[in-house]
């Protein structure tokens, strides 16, 4: 059985897959991806958006992306919610049940970094505390288009738009 240490701070060595692994993932999952979704204490806002992904309008099946019921068949773990302590164990079991290579996506403000719930005695406040996260999809809830972008980004089929910005001081600063 695979066990995970509860990491207080995200360890960038596990949060960031190597380039080689990324290439392998794109090669393996580029055109066919199966998702297992786990609700780890979400308000269900994210779920209602995720559900829309299979509607005729968004229709992610056209992109070769499918939802599956068992982690044994899944390539990607899509997690929503603020990671309540009760869900830590099931989440880790789900992850352990997935075949490798496997991807993890944190969906919504809650799973990304706590959202309105944050860290508390009941929640861990972010998915990266227990699992290596490949992609973060912020938003509360993220729109279906944002979800599609996030999934395609994970597969290397879309570009990342946001980048770390360090803004310069305004003109009359102490340069």
């Amino acid at each position: 059985m695979v066990t995970f240490e509860l990491l207080d701070e995200p360890d960038s060595s596990i949060t960031e897959p190597s380039t080689a692994l990324r290439r392998q993932i794109q090669h393996l999952f580029g055109r066919s991806l199966h998702i297992r979704h786990v609700d780890a204490g979400s308000c269900n806002g994210c779920e209602s958006e995720i559900k829309l992904l299979t509607s005729p309008y968004y229709d992610i099946h056209r992109l070769g992306i499918f939802f599956t019921t068992t982690p044994r068949h899944a390539d990607l773990l899509l997690v929503t919610g603020a990671i309540t302590r009760a869900m830590v164990d099931p989440l880790q079991r789900t992850y352990a049940a997935m075949p490798e290579p496997r991807l993890v996506v944190a969906t919504g403000a809650c799973a990304c970094d706590g959202g309105i719930f944050g860290r508390s005695c009941l929640t861990l406040g972010r998915l990266s505390a227990i699992l290596p996260v490949d992609t973060y999809i912020p938003g509360c809830p993220p729109t279906p288009l944002a979800l599609i972008h996030g999934l395609l980004l994970t597969l290397g089929r879309a570009e990342q738009r946001l980048h770390r910005q360090i803004l310069a001081h305004h003109a009359d600063g102490k340069a």
């Binding site: 960031e16 309105i116 912020p138 288009l145 944002a146 879309a158 990342q160 738009r161 001081h169």
Partner: protein, 126 residues
């Protein structure tokens, strides 16, 4: 009956979004994400209005690892896109953008940072 169904499909045409191939612009007035304009922000002058209104602490003041300098961080990961900060900002340094492609691979990429060098007085107070 099947024919009617076919006809209906034909008349309806394609409803699916063209999204990954072509952009699918959001509707008017869509609140995407807050965007910080470093030129107009008055953080240097002690303004912390946005930090105070932000519930999930997506806007926060952080101490830089050197222990002295501080910085204003807009972190989109916990941001719930509520727009309170935009309304609160006295200088209009914040506004909402409508783009939706926010996913990032690394948490750092979701951050916008305004560094802030404090003038430290001799007795150690600001």
């Amino acid at each position: 009956m099947e024919l009617g169904w076919l006809l209906r499909g034909w008349r309806t045409g394609i409803v699916t979004t063209p999204y990954p191939t072509r952009p699918d612009p959001p509707p008017q007035g869509f609140r995407g994400r807050p965007q910080l304009d470093g030129e107009r922000c008055r953080i240097d002058d002690g303004c912390t209005v946005c930090v105070e209104v932000c519930l999930p602490r997506a806007l926060r003041l952080e101490t830089v690892p050197n222990g002295l300098d501080r910085r204003l961080v807009l972190d989109l990961l916990p941001c719930i896109m509520c727009g309170l900060c935009v309304q609160a900002c006295p200088t209009g340094a914040l506004h909402m953008q409508s783009d939706g492609e926010l996913a990032v691979r690394s948490p750092q990429d979701a951050q916008t940072i305004v560094p802030l060098e404090m003038e430290v007085s001799s007795d150690g107070h600001i």
